[in-house]
Symmetry: C2
Subunit: 208 residues, 2 copies
Amino acid sequence: MRPRRTRVLELAILGHLEESPMHGYELRKRLNSELGAFRAFSYGSLYPCLKEMLRLDLVSGSPQEGAAGWRSRIVYQLTSEGRERLRALLSESTPAATDDECFGVHFTLFGRTRTEVRMRILRGRRHRLLERLDFLRERVARATERGDPYIYELHRHRVESVEREVDWLEDLIKQERRRAENAGVADANISGSAPPLRGDPSATDQQM
Amino acid sequence: MRPRRTRVLELAILGHLEESPMHGYELRKRLNSELGAFRAFSYGSLYPCLKEMLRLDLVSGSPQEGAAGWRSRIVYQLTSEGRERLRALLSESTPAATDDECFGVHFTLFGRTRTEVRMRILRGRRHRLLERLDFLRERVARATERGDPYIYELHRHRVESVEREVDWLEDLIKQERRRAENAGVADANISGSAPPLRGDPSATDQQM
DNA sequence: GTTAGCATGTAAGGAGTTACATGATTTT
DNA sequence: AAAATCATGTAACTCCTTACATGCTAAC
């Protein structure tokens, strides 16, 4: 049997199990409600992945016989190795974390991440989008030459859409920076309660 | 050997070969410059797909010995079956055509599509996005309850981004409608030159 | 003369989905 | 009593990518 384990899914599972132990079915519901719209994980990927993570001692699974004669639903829990792995994945500066998919999962876990990690990921994402913009702008230029109005229109819309995501990221980066300044260096704990976002809509036009 | 053929890639290939015969390498460059940023097809998927399409007589491939001692590059060309297949794929009302990926490919071919087909695809895409909006808005609501500001922020941004795509689509639909009215029923030919888009930026706020 | 680009392909692998099998439990 | 939902799992399949093998030609 081929080892079924992937970066995204593994990260998502570790992140959610850190919050509280859960069985697979529950886990899937949570994942799909938070990740939303893109990538709805199916049992066919979730269960094999959990199994593999069991094998690697990243999680421990205890069959719960509690509720009268269930098909012993298995409640998964992070092991200390799992916790370590989660930390490692979150702090990793792999460019993969700025993928469309992976970025979303990372973002979902921002509530339990240190400011500097959030910062790195936000910047990394912005960088990737700026690269994509370069690419797309060239496409727009080429479409203008070719004279196909639909292809032009498509790329123009994509450029706009990526530009907006960049703006969004820059706002977030600004907020992170302000927060880091206000808090000093002391509060770099991973489990600190997530501070409010979008708190001050007036002061958004100062420079980065 | 497993048959290597997919909807998206097949459609893209047929669409581009209709414009003019090409060899694989060239084809790939074109695909990647027009589809852009998302989905950059690799040779590993392109060549096997072409091979399969050869087997099905959707395309015919003639090795070109012309340019002094080339590794006989194969120029692919649509057969009549291929042309038929392209028509069928373009007119198909499968909901798959409104996928993120597939929609892009269809849009790329709008220059060679009839108005009614464009209309159907645009509407279908809009419908799919509205469904996604419902889903995402529920997520935003739930994130508000839960009180995780990052998850809230993520979904809020996604909602905004989908809303904007809907706006874009509605603009396009309006334009298509105007064009259809101006042209009457007579010009429903597939190879008509693509008319200009975004012609009248003033009249955008009339109702659908 | 070596790098870069043109050109065609194959094998293996990665990351997931769909469809199925199975059964218990709660709701209607 | 039927239907929905909870719950776990497997096998097969999809669709694409990476890495490799091969060799030619043009540019620097």
